[in-house]
């Protein structure tokens, strides 16, 4: 099977977000594989273990993402591509999916796995957009996957309920928490990862121009949510409190 994984390097979930000059600062920040993409990598390796084939991990990002790609190789992926997007000025999810679509143009694909969302921007767009461009079906927020005779039986999480979907390969799926428990890369895996192929591609290599992949959104401002204000405790009899509350909701909070 030709198994592909879309992977993004993101902030460690433990990091505090600092905004500087209308940008989220990445000074001294630890990076990780986007946790949802880690589920995708694990599922891809499990598919390979069950059905044979090859797992290729692709990321669009900066040079530093090599570290996260090596981690995926250490977990058991076979090869990796890093598509450099450093030259794209106004970059958003449509850029990523445009670039990925160009990458996949000449690839034989049985399944593409990605994360449901990234833990930084959290838009959940890249998977579905890419599938549209490749004209293959997609199933999001999956929590279970079985493949036989080129048919995938997928359980997906729909706001807490489960839906079972059957779909022909090729397909693109995005992983939701609960799909699996990602393995730790083993020590031999880590040592072998450096010998596995990791290719860096420039937009040129995909016959793309920077302006072809400019983002469609415009960032007007970046700011942190307002700090939580101290609460207020109402006093008096319950009826008085209720009356006071309703009044405040009308006059002060202006929500009713």
């Amino acid at each position: 099977m030709n198994i592909f994984v879309l992977m993004k390097r993101t902030f460690d979930t433990e990091e505090k977000i600092v905004v500087e000059n209308s940008r989220v600062s990445d000074d001294g920040v630890e990076f990780i594989i986007n946790p949802y993409d880690e589920f995708a990598i694990e599922e891809a390796i499990k598919l390979k273990e069950e059905h044979g084939g090859e797992v290729t991990v692709v990321t669009v990002g900066e040079e530093e993402a090599e570290k996260e790609l090596r981690t995926a190789l250490a977990m058991g992926a076979d090869k990796a591509y890093l598509i450099n997007n450093e030259d794209v000025e106004n970059y958003d999810q449509s850029s990523t999916s445009e670039i990925l679509a160009a990458f996949f143009k000449d690839k034989e694909v049985d399944i593409i796995l990605g994360g449901n969302v990234s833990n930084d921007n959290g838009t959940g767009q890249v998977g579905p957009r890419l599938a549209e461009k490749l004209a293959i079906p997609y199933v999001t927020t999956i929590v279970g996957l079985e493949i036989s005779d080129r048919k995938a039986t997928i359980e997906r999480d729909v706001e807490g309920d489960q839906e079972t979907v059957e779909v022909e390969l090729p397909v693109l799926v995005t992983a939701q928490q609960g799909l699996n428990e990602p393995r730790y890369p083993s020590l031999p895996g880590i040592m072998k990862a450096k010998k596995k192929p990791l290719e860096v591609l420039e937009l040129d290599d995909l016959d793309l121009d920077e302006d072809e992949v400019e983002g469609l959104t415009e960032t007007v401002d970046v700011f942190l949510p307002p700090e939580k204000q101290a609460g207020r405790i109402l006093e008096g009899e319950v009826e008085e409190q209720v009356a006071e509350l309703v009044k405040l909701l009308r006059t002060e909070a202006k929500v009713i």
């Binding site: 570290k67 090596r70 250490a74 730790y184 020590l187 031999p188 880590i190 450096k194």
Partner: protein, 380 residues
């Protein structure tokens, strides 16, 4: 000069930290309180290739270097001293001498299952009457036909009750000058005449297994002699030099944990209307801890690097062991102080750091012995 770790070293740190935080940490209090050796964790560590970290792939190892191994010990030690000690001993004392000095057959037979983490090994040097003075070994191994017959007693041996292969030192004869020749022999733990007892109620590293070994007319084939019979003493000194790097790394881990705990607590706890971390007396403690830890880290990594470069490292591993373990003790002590009364309570963990760190100033050569080693290297 390049202080950058390789990608493999960084990945190893991340992986081991995640494993330690997720799998070991929830159990550290129990491991200590109940003095429970976490056998199942060692099975998992074996499956991840940690027990064969610094050995070649052809013996079931992971092909890592000493520095990567030191990082792994540091990360486990940061979470659990007991697990860290048994891990360091399994690799540096249980498996390493076979790798350094074993024949091809011995490596295939004895090292491979250790490196794969299928079993554990132990190294028995210390005896009731031979501790710091290892030359005073009284256990004997007499050649009888094609077998050695071993008699004697070993004490304080890490992992002994869980080991399937014991490397024991014994007097095998006298050299030309009439001095005792000490060699190491490989003894499968199930050989008739071997009795292993779990006899200790320890102050710290309580979940690390420590056993007594009695050897009563134990017969092993003469092929089980490890390395050069004339150079046995030199060989175990080399083994200990390597082991010291891992004990130093363990000290580093405990010291690091002490600092992290103390810093977090100092920022949280308020007295006189301010967090403890705003008081200069507390700040100075934290500053000293952080500085000593970084100095210790540089020394430990340098000693590991020298070993990897196949350069002499006897003096540097003694520096590293002495400084990192004494740093661990001081850091743990200050961490308790910064926690006040809470620090004296088990659930805050820093009192365990102190109990665990104390062992590191004793095992694999006491602090005094490290100073002796250094002085000898200086030409005294």
């Amino acid at each position: 000069m390049d202080f950058e770790l390789s990608k493999e070293q960084e990945m190893t740190r991340r992986m081991v930290r995640a494993f330690a935080e997720n799998k070991i940490k929830p159990r550290t209090l129990d491991i200590d309180k109940k003095a429970q050796f976490p056998k199942d964790l060692f099975d998992e560590m074996g499956a991840l290739g940690l027990l064969g970290l610094p050995f070649p792939e052809k013996y079931g190892g992971s092909d890592g270097d000493t520095l990567t191994y030191a990082i792994a010990v540091e990360e486990i030690g940061r979470v659990c001293g007991s697990t860290g000690l048994s891990y360091a001993a399994a690799v540096s004392l249980g498996a390493s001498p076979i790798y350094y000095f074993g024949t091809e057959e011995q490596k295939q037979q004895f090292l491979t299952p250790l490196a794969k983490g299928e079993t554990l090994g132990a190294f028995g040097l210390t005896e009731p009457n031979a501790g710091s003075d290892a030359g005073g070994t009284q256990t004997t191994a007499k050649l009888e036909g094609n077998d050695y017959i071993i008699n004697g007693e070993k004490c304080f041996i890490t992992n002994a009750n869980y080991a399937s292969i014991l490397t024991v030192t014994a007097v095998t004869g006298k050299d030309a000058r009439g001095k005792n020749m000490i060699s190491a022999l490989l003894v499968p733990a199930d050989t008739p005449g071997v009795t292993i007892r779990n006899a200790y109620d320890k102050m710290g590293v309580r979940g690390s297994d420590t056993g007594e070994i009695f050897l009563d007319n134990v017969r092993v084939p003469k092929e089980n002699l490890l390395g050069d019979p004339e150079k046995g003493f030199k060989q175990f000194l080399y083994t200990l030099d390597g082991g010291r790097i891992s004990i130093a790394a363990l000290g580093l881990g405990i010291a690091q944990a002490s600092l992290e705990r103390a810093l977090a607590y100092a920022k949280e706890r308020k007295q006189f209307g301010h967090p403890l971390s705003t008081f200069q007396a507390i700040q100075f403690k934290l500053a000293d801890m952080a500085m000593e830890i970084e100095l210790a880290r540089n020394m430990v990594y340098k000693a590991a690097w020298l070993k990897d470069q196949k350069k002499p490292f006897t003096k540097e591993s003694a520096f590293a062991k002495l400084f990192a373990t004494e740093t661990a003790f001081r850091a743990a002590n200050q961490a308790i102080q910064i926690h006040g009364g809470n620090g004296y309570m088990r659930e805050y963990e820093v009192e365990r750091y102190l109990r665990d760190a104390k062992l590191l100033e004793i095992g694999e050569g006491t602090s005094e012995v490290q100073r002796l080693v250094i002085a000898r290297q200086l030409g005294c």
